[in-house]
Amino acid sequence: MKTQTYYLNLGPQHPSTHGVFRIILELDGETVVKATPVPGYLHRGIEKLAEARTYTQVIPYTDRMDYLAAMLMNWGYVKAVEDLMGVEVPERAEYIRVIVGELSRIASHMIATGAYGADIGALTAFTYTFRDREYVLDLLEMVSGSRMTFSYFRVGGVAEDLPEEFYPAVKKFLAELPGMCDEYDGLITGNEIFQARTKHVGIIPPEVGINYSLSGPTLRGSGVNYDLRKVRPYSVYDRFDFDVPLGKNGDCFDRFRIRIEEMRQSGRIIQQALEQMPDGPIQAKVPKVIKPPVGDAYAEIESSKGVYGCYVVSDGSPKPYRVHFRRPSFINLGYLGKLCEGWKIADVVAILGSIDIVLGEVDC
């Protein structure tokens, strides 16, 4: 009997693509022969927009990349500008950055966890993680005034000190966080149907992960111990005691599971940061009009999706000559096409969800 492959278009508007992402699937029956990702539907040209803004004015645009962990997006950019200018950030500001950054990471992982549950069919779990994420957003709103696009970082520090009401609220949250993670584990991780759908599906071998320059939980799920906060500590991360959760098999289940573990570790980091936080200024002495010397700088941080880098070139004027962002979601997607080959359609959704992309960042 003669059979023929056919094409199926998934997305750009499909709930399981986590935004406006499109994959063209060539299918043989239900089996994927070839998968071609088509990003670009959310492209706003942030890198180009940045060239027409002053250094400070670029900060709100970085929020709009990974809008689920906007604090971390701010961080990479201001760090690059600070490196370029040789600014020393005050200690207290670094601690505040760590606290809000880790809170942002928790919020982002909560979405990843809940949305992945929903992808697989555990819609209840989605409501649980979203409920808890609201608490994190409350905390960040207290600090910055916004719930998602914070624009809280400034070159040389942060916009404002932590407010008084933040401390009791964050303590309460940290006390509840392990319980929340247990709930997710009970609802999703332990669920046999979920495990059957995700275990041994979409395996990324460690050396392939490295070759494709994957990073973040996607890489660590394959057991590669690479977390910038540990291997090349920036800010004050070398002062905290935390573990880097690693997967064993590199399958969807491992990638999912370590995000929940990372939330617990982030909680530990915040706890220590609150205890160690010194008093002092929150903003370095930076001129009103930021004019870095001619040159370029590249800074990297560990965002919730992986290694987020920012490259800034200055021509000595108050506006950046060129800004480039290394967005982890985009680079992690590089292997998606290969990864989907040979799996069934339903697995494509499981695989895509396990990489945890956010389209604002992919398309930039």
Partner: protein
């Protein structure tokens, strides 16, 4: 045993069913915003010296202002925020060193039409030099600003 995980999940959801409600009935019940909340803008016209720092700080050219020189002093005649382009980043509020521009905690700024979103904080004629007392127009403008009137002043 297969199914244990499922039972555990059921236990959690059943336990939650009797727990506290997590939502509010929004238009009827409102939650209080935090003091730093980025809501609708407020301009204290008496404090504003029409320096234009806020307009310059804005990444998206949201703030459009007009001023006139009256008796060697800058007089703010128009202050319009094109909220439809606003990122609510707060750079304008931060740049105002007279504390004139502020965020309020008003959240419902949604309108049916894009042009209705526009926020006219000040729109007044400049007083005539010397002869006219300055208080009168400033007073009305202040009231307008306090009410934070949207351009056509009409909802829906």
């Amino acid at each position: 045993m297969f199914g244990q995980g499922l039972l555990k999940g059921l236990e959690i959801t059943w336990g939650r069913m009797l727990g506290k409600k997590q939502t509010v009935k929004y238009p009827f019940e409102k939650i209080e915003m935090f003091p730093r909340f980025h809501g609708r803008f407020q301009l204290d016209v008496d404090k504003c010296i029409a320096c234009g720092l806020c307009a310059n700080a804005c990444p998206n050219k949201v703030i459009q202002m007009e001023k006139q020189k009256v008796d060697n002093k800058q007089y703010l005649t128009k202050y319009v925020m094109r909220i439809e382009y606003c990122l609510f980043c707060g750079l304008c509020v931060e740049s105002c060193n007279k504390d004139a521009l502020k965020f309020s905690s008003v959240i419902d700024m949604n309108q049916y039409r894009r042009e209705w979103v526009r926020l006219t904080l000040v729109d007044r004629p400049a007083p005539e030099s010397k002869k006219t007392p300055e208080e009168a127009p400033a007073e009305t403008a202040k009231e307008q600003a306090a009410a934070g009137k949207a351009a056509p002043g009409k909802e829906g």
